[in-house]
């Protein structure tokens, strides 16, 4: 009997984490607003139930996908990129080398048992969900790419300089289920956030 309960608990364990979100960088943004629809993190259990019905048909092998929001425009306010304070008595010419990584442009989220590859330097879904989603070429990238931008400006004494980023992007999300020999082995929600434009704002304030 104990063995039976143990096996049942083991079987139910993945479902206990059904709505835990595994996400890369963009979830840390101060604010994300979609022009229509909802972010994956805001999906209710009722919505999940109705969307899962779209992927419950058994399949011999591979992913079954239902896209809820397809390339929906979104705006965001990101993090503060840097903050510099001149506590001296003379103005300082400050040179900043801003390095932006390509992986910061594509953010992924997954719920349920879909999961993200934690060992990758660039975010990827487990079990090659990307190929089942038939993403357009702009979502494809193979290695860590970096871009550098130089900023040079004068900072007066007693002045703090902050650089903020806000911008626009596209969100694609939905639910997916993976089958192997007609058995469903993974199920959950997925989301891809693709940054198209970043606007930078430089602020100076007297402290």
């Amino acid at each position: 009997m104990k063995r039976l309960i143990f096996i049942a608990l083991c079987f139910l364990l993945p479902f206990c984490f059904a709505f835990e979100v595994h996400a890369s960088n963009y979830q840390g943004y101060e604010r994300i607003e979609m022009s229509s629809g909802k972010l994956l993190a805001d999906f209710t259990s009722k919505e999940y139930t109705s969307y899962y019905k779209k992927v419950q048909k058994l399949k011999f092998n591979g992913w079954r996908v239902y896209i809820v929001n397809d390339n929906v425009k979104a705006s965001f306010i990101s993090e503060t990129l840097f903050s510099y304070y001149n506590d001296g008595y003379t103005p300082i010419e400050y040179v900043y080398e801003l390095e932006r990584k390509r992986s910061q442009k594509i953010g992924l989220s997954a719920t349920g048992s879909i999961g993200l590859k934690s060992t990758e330097t660039i975010p990827k879904f487990k079990n090659n969900l990307e190929s089942a989603l038939k993403l357009s070429s702009e979502y494809q990238y193979n290695e860590e790419e970096k871009e550098k931008y130089y900023l040079k400006f004068l900072v007066d004494p007693g002045t703090q300089v902050d650089l903020y980023v806000y911008g626009e992007g596209k969100v694609t999300n939905g639910v997916a289920a993976r089958y192997s020999l007609f058995i469903r082995v993974d199920k959950g929600g997925f989301e891809i956030f693709f940054v198209t434009t970043e606007y930078q704002r430089l602020e100076k304030k007297k402290i």
Binding site: S137, E138, E147, K148, Y150, R201, E203
Partner: protein
Amino acid sequence: MKRIFLYISLLMLSAILGYIIFRMKPDQEKKVLTVDTEYAYVMKDDAIGTFMMYVSDETHDICNENRYMRMILEDKDKETKIELSLLDIEIGHEEYYLKEAYVKVFISFDIPIMTEDIVFDDAYLTLELTDQQSYEVRLGRVTFFKDAHDEQGLNWTSLSGIKQSNDLRSRIYEITVSCDGVTEEIEKIDVGSKHLTTFSLDQQNLIITIEDADYLLYDVPIVITFVNGERQVIANFRYIIDYVILKESGPMINVYTLD
């Protein structure tokens, strides 16, 4: 037995044919793309400028700064010409244009110092490589402003810029300069664009609107000329970083074949 030999022969023949067809497929032509852009920089000591282009093969010599002999910036009429000192070449993100992949290439150079403003209205960049190869690519418009050391008539507190709504190109439409007030009356404002700028000023914000044109514009200085003749320069600031430039720049793209 004869039938088995026939099947094997047919299989081998089709494999050989397949291999020949694969070998006959022409190699993809190597290309470099530029997008018409308005580049504007202030001539200051140690200032760095960056031109942008896209290359289909990042192993090509054009992406290797050690293979460069010299780099010449000139106007189309060849009357204005200047040799630039190459600093660095860096590879950026990948984009797609007509189903072909290109990597963005940043060519950094020392901003030259001259006594007067200089404008290359229809700017071309000639890249001379060590193996006698030379490529001339169109940049758009390049302006170098002389720095100003006049008293500051405007004490700015923030800089930000946006694109025109629904414009997907990487082009600034409006720059907002927050300030503590302006002590002198402003006569005109220049951001290096050959197109008109208009401005409005209240106590807190100077709003500069830039006329639309078929050029990218994302990194500019602000040159303010006051009625008393003094000039204030707010250094270059990268207002926009776009990651989908080729897809949205269609007619502004120039295509060149690489050897």
